[in-house]
């Protein structure tokens, strides 16, 4: 018994994905450097407390996040999945409480304020919905001739999506829904069933479009027709393009971006942090950052493909999808490829809820990696 346990322990850490860990540490570190650059000279130093400093806050969030990252990776994900329904109900309740008592910021009631700390429960909801979905869809492949798991997962995913959408946090709801679609697709759902989902989505989309807040609709129309753009949005998109474009090959140097340091670029430490990086570190720096993020996503997909079972595979793939979509939407917004949605860049942007939830999700990926089948890994 004791020998088995010893062997087991060793084997767990042997399969630990250190490449993933190093990538995560580098990205979080880069994020803190960028927040420092975007923030340091924006606020006068005198009279500012240690906690006022967003850099210090992000470091604390990162420490909490890494504790969860390691903590969650040790417990076998199958134990965690067995708890997922309880956690799911808990998250639905928190989302309901947020809708009723939540603190409104930037037009959305998506913040829960506990004393001095504001939490964004929708970030945690994303991770838990991925777990629940993986648990439902992670059945044997041939069973996807039946619609039951698909319908069940749809029934489970819709309440949190709807609650987040009604906050209204269109961006997060969209990420969650899209991650579910990717999971459904990669779970092996038949094409004809996918066509049904597409059909329902096709009917629902116009209804949801008209349910959108005017400012959100405007963001989409202003993206399609820039002349109708809201002054604030189009100003910042313009400034983001100037920031990125003026960076050139090598950038203006850390803390030397004229657009960022002279406040021309707004929301620099959150939604538009990529523009700060591209301005100060140039094309080379931007490509390096994109490369690191792509490598991270690639690595998570690799973990998925080596997973021991369908549930583990779907956990990893859901998280890969979530990080990929959010990264693409954020960078696409910075580059004016996509409309403004106000989504942070995972691991990089300032924001405690987002960072902690993302690290928790990546901890689950490590968990899947640690419990993976070794032989399959060599094929990819």
């Amino acid at each position: 018994m004791s020998t088995t346990r010893t062997y087991h322990k060793v084997s767990i850490w042997r399969r630990y994905d250190f490449v993933l860990l190093i990538l995560v540490v580098i990205l979080v570190g880069l994020g803190i450097v960028m927040i420092y650059s975007a923030y340091e000279y924006s606020i006068p130093k005198e009279g500012r407390t240690w906690w006022d400093n967003l850099v210090n806050r992000q470091i604390i969030f990162a420490i909490i996040g890494f504790i969860l990252f390691f903590g969650v990776s040790i417990i076998d994900y199958r134990h965690i999945l067995s708890l997922s329904y309880i956690l799911y109900i808990g998250v639905i309740l928190i989302l309901l409480v947020t809708s009723v008592l939540g603190h409104t910021s930037f037009g959305a009631q998506s913040w829960l304020r506990i004393q001095n700390l504001t939490l964004q429960p929708s970030e945690l909801a994303k991770v838990l919905v991925i777990l629940v979905t993986a648990n439902v869809l992670g059945v044997e492949d041939d069973k996807f001739e039946k619609l039951t798991p698909l319908l069940l997962s749809a029934i489970l995913v819709l309440p949190p999506v709807a609650l987040i959408y009604l906050q209204p946090d269109f961006g997060t709801a969209m990420i969650l829904f899209a991650s579910w679609i990717v999971m459904v697709f990669l779970a092996g759902v038949r094409w004809r069933h996918l066509a049904i989902i597409a059909g329902i989505a096709g009917v629902g989309a116009p209804i949801l479009w008209f349910r959108l807040n005017p400012y959100q609709r405007k963001r989409v129309t202003s993206f399609l027709y820039p002349s109708q753009a809201d002054a604030g949005d189009s100003y910042n998109i313009r400034q983001a393009l100037i920031s990125i474009g003026s960076g050139g090959w090598w950038g203006k140097g850390l803390l030397k971006g004229t657009q960022s340091q002279l406040y021309f670029l707004r929301v620099r430490h959150t939604d538009f942090i990529f523009s700060v990086w591209a301005e100060e570190m140039g094309f080379i720096g931007a490509i390096v950052l994109i490369g690191l993020l792509a490598l991270l996503i690639w690595r998570i997909i690799r973990v998925a493909m080596t997973a021991r079972d369908a549930k583990g595979r779907l956990i990893a793939i859901g998280i890969a999808a979530m990080i990929f979509i959010q990264t693409f939407i954020n960078i696409g917004m910075n580059l004016n490829l996509l409309p403004v949605t106000g989504l942070p860049l995972p691991l990089i942007s300032y924001g405690g809820s987002s960072l902690v939830a993302t690290l928790l999700a990546l901890g689950l990926v490590e968990n899947v990696a640690m419990h993976s089948k070794p032989l399959e890994a060599d094929l990819f």
Partner: protein
């Protein structure tokens, strides 16, 4: 994972990730490599500014070099609408905080609207507006000129409040403090009519200002609007410099890259001695109190150069109120005052000159040979002007009176001036059946020669030209033809004649100096910032009077006699020979019933005038004193002139307000 069906979908996912990386990298290549140059240009346009540095405005000194005005910093609080927080709640917080600092409400409160609606029944629409305090909303709405143009919320913000706002600026995005030099007038009311005041360029005059390209006017610039500030604007303004600066998104200057220093404005020294001015003001104020007069003027000229030595118009106003923008309430109060404190009555007031005017027909009649020194006219107190249509019917004739109803008897020109005999000047000016007078055309010619009917051209604003009435003028304005009676009235400075106090003292100066009509000037010299004289004083001659020197000498002698033995004995001062002429100019005011106001003897009220020069030989100073509705010139104006001359010649002044005091030594 053995299911190749699913494995294919994983490959598809990876392909999508690669596609996304390629798409994003391609866009980055386009932005950062292909189009980088144009974005760099835009980034530079964002942060670099070529701004004008306003030159320090020149200052103004009195004749003795005492500083009359200096530049002090003033703080304005601006709000850039586009830079305010987008979040409604935060935006409201910023404005509320700003409102608290400035003591201005942000929004219209319920109470305000009640006051507003209850007073809207009043007849005075301007007064209603002033009832309601202007809110920040009001200012932002009315001054709005685009999201990124700063709106001036408050001017003349106290220094400590400006500093607090400046320090908390980062917590109030969109709010900025601008420091701007404004004028501080050290003498306030004493010199306000001469110095004038500054204000922002009126919108409808902007083009005219900017047409002077070398002065580089900007739409919101402060410029001299009245007085010396206005007439010497181009001298005081200086030449603006410029600098290349780096700014942040809130247009705050971050660094200076290059600077081209401005050239400070030149300084102006006036001909006025501020201590003399102060003494004249005190004396005039006492004289007005004694005469129960609400408006008074005293002007002193140097008859040998045309230099304005002193010019006081009461009531006055504090021109400091205009520095950095006068409030609506204060402006309304000043402009609705029936005595018009903002108007310089010395140059803008137009009044009948009364008997002071008689020196003009006297000189004219002698020059034209209408009379000689020996010519006498018999004054019985009245003279009749026959009716134009029934010249033989004495009952229809109009009677003209002498102020001395019992008459002066036989008087020559000297005696007529000395006793201010009206009958003599009616006769000499208009003529009678058996005496050829000057006639209105020749009288007008001499009036114009003495400078009446046109502005003197002094370097001040708002000068009136007075009125030299002609038959043509009367037809155009009254639809009636000129009558002999009109000439009679014109000959004694009544009827339609209108003069400004400055015109009258300038004519007096021309008589005093032997026949040169100078243009009055108030600028002694202009010096640059280093003290080098750019422009020195040069007397300007309007014209030499076409009157023989000895005739002017006779007039001067008669004026001396008027003070020595005639109506103006109250103008005597010890040790100095004063020459002068009194005037009590009748004017018409109507009471509430539309009836002319008359005293118990049936006389119309009179303005008290006195003109004088001294010393009689080699005059140094010419003076006029005017007291609106002040009574007779002899009793009320002459003692004021005497006191002014006492001060001027270093003699102790007399307390005019003490009625028991003998005012002749």
């Amino acid at each position: 994972m053995t299911n190749w069906y699913i494995r294919g979908r994983y490959v598809l996912f990876r392909i999508i990730v690669i596609a996304a990386v390629v798409l994003v990298s391609a866009k980055l290549w386009d932005l950062q490599i292909v189009s980088s140059q144009s974005y760099q240009t835009e980034a530079n346009a964002n942060r670099f500014r070529l701004v004008q540095i306003d030159a320090p405005r020149g200052v103004i000194y009195d004749s003795a070099g005492r500083l009359l005005v200096r530049n002090v910093p003033s703080f304005s609080v601006m709000v850039t609408p586009g830079a305010l927080p987008e979040d409604t709640e935060q935006r409201e917080q910023v404005l509320q905080k700003l409102g608290d600092y400035l003591g201005i409400p942000v929004h219209e409160t319920a109470l305000d609207s009640i006051i507003y609606s209850s007073s809207s029944e009043g007849a005075e629409p301007l007064a209603i507006n002033s009832q309601r305090t202007k809110t920040i909303d009001d200012i932002m709405n009315t001054q709005y000129n685009g999201e990124w143009t700063a709106v001036r919320i408050a001017s003349n913000v106290p220094r400590d409040i400006a500093f607090i706002i400046e320090e908390t600026q980062t917590q109030m995005p969109g709010v900025s403090v601008v420091a701007e030099p404004i004028r501080e007038y050290l003498e306030g009311e004493l010199m306000s009519h001469i110095l004038g005041y500054e204000g922002r360029i009126p919108a409808d005059e902007l083009e005219a200002y900017q047409a002077q390209t070398e002065l580089k006017y900007q739409p919101d610039d402060l410029v001299g609007l009245t007085g010396i500030e206005a007439t010497q604007e181009s001298v005081l303004r200086g030449t603006a410099g410029q600098k290349h600066i780096e700014v942040d998104a809130y247009e705050h200057e971050v660094a200076v890259l290059a600077e081209d220093e401005p050239v400070p404005g030149a300084n102006v020294r006036l001909t006025i001695d501020v201590e003399l001015q102060r003494a004249v003001e005190d004396i005039l104020r006492d004289g007005m109190k004694r005469a129960n007069s609400d408006v008074g003027v005293a002007v002193l000229l140097d008859p040998n150069t045309g230099k304005l030595l002193s010019s006081v118009s009461l009531p006055s106003f504090d021109n400091n109120k205009f520095s950095g923008g006068i409030s609506y309430d204060e402006y309304y109060q000043l402009s609705s005052d029936p005595n018009h404190p903002m108007i310089d009555h010395a140059i803008s007031g137009q009044y009948p000159p009364g008997s002071t005017f008689k020196v003009i027909p006297a000189a004219a009649a002698l020059q034209e040979g209408i009379i000689t020194l020996g010519t006498t006219v018999n004054c019985q107190g009245t003279i009749k002007v026959p009716n134009k249509y029934f010249p033989d019917d004495p009952t229809l004739a109009q009677t003209f009176y002498c102020w001395q109803t019992w008459g002066h008897g036989n008087v020559n020109v000297t005696e007529a001036l000395q006793g201010s005999c009206d009958i003599f000047f009616y006769t000499v000016g208009g003529g009678t059946n058996d005496f050829e007078g000057l006639g209105i055309d020749r009288l007008d010619e001499y009036m114009k020669m003495f400078g009446f009917g046109s502005p003197t051209g002094i370097e001040l604003t708002g000068e009136s030209k007075g009125l030299v009435p002609t038959p043509k003028w009367k037809v155009q304005n009254y639809g009636e033809s000129w009558a002999l009676g009109d000439t009679y009235n014109a000959s004694i400075g009544q009827g339609f004649d209108l003069v400004t106090p400055l015109q009258l003292v300038n004519a007096t100066a021309a008589i005093a100096n032997g026949g040169t009509l100078y243009q009055p000037q108030v600028v002694e010299e202009i010096t640059d910032a280093d003290g080098h004289v750019i422009q020195a004083f040069q007397p300007k001659v309007i014209r030499e009077l076409a009157i023989d020197k000895d005739i002017l000498a006779y007039v001067r002698a008669a004026m001396r006699d008027t003070v020595a033995n005639g109506t103006a004995r109250y103008a005597q001062i010890p040790g100095i020979e004063v020459a002068g002429k009194t005037g009590s100019a009748e004017y018409a005011v109507w009471d509430a019933n539309g009836d002319l106001v008359r005293d118990e003897f049936g006389h119309l009220p009179t303005h008290a005038w006195f003109i004088a020069f001294a010393p009689y030989e080699n005059p140094e100073v010419a003076v006029v004193v005017f007291l609106e509705g002040g009574g007779t010139g002899a009793e009320m104006a002459a003692p004021v002139v005497a006191n002014i001359l006492r001060y001027y010649f270093g003699l102790p002044t007399v307390d005019l307000s003490d009625p028991t005091r003998q005012i002749i030594d």
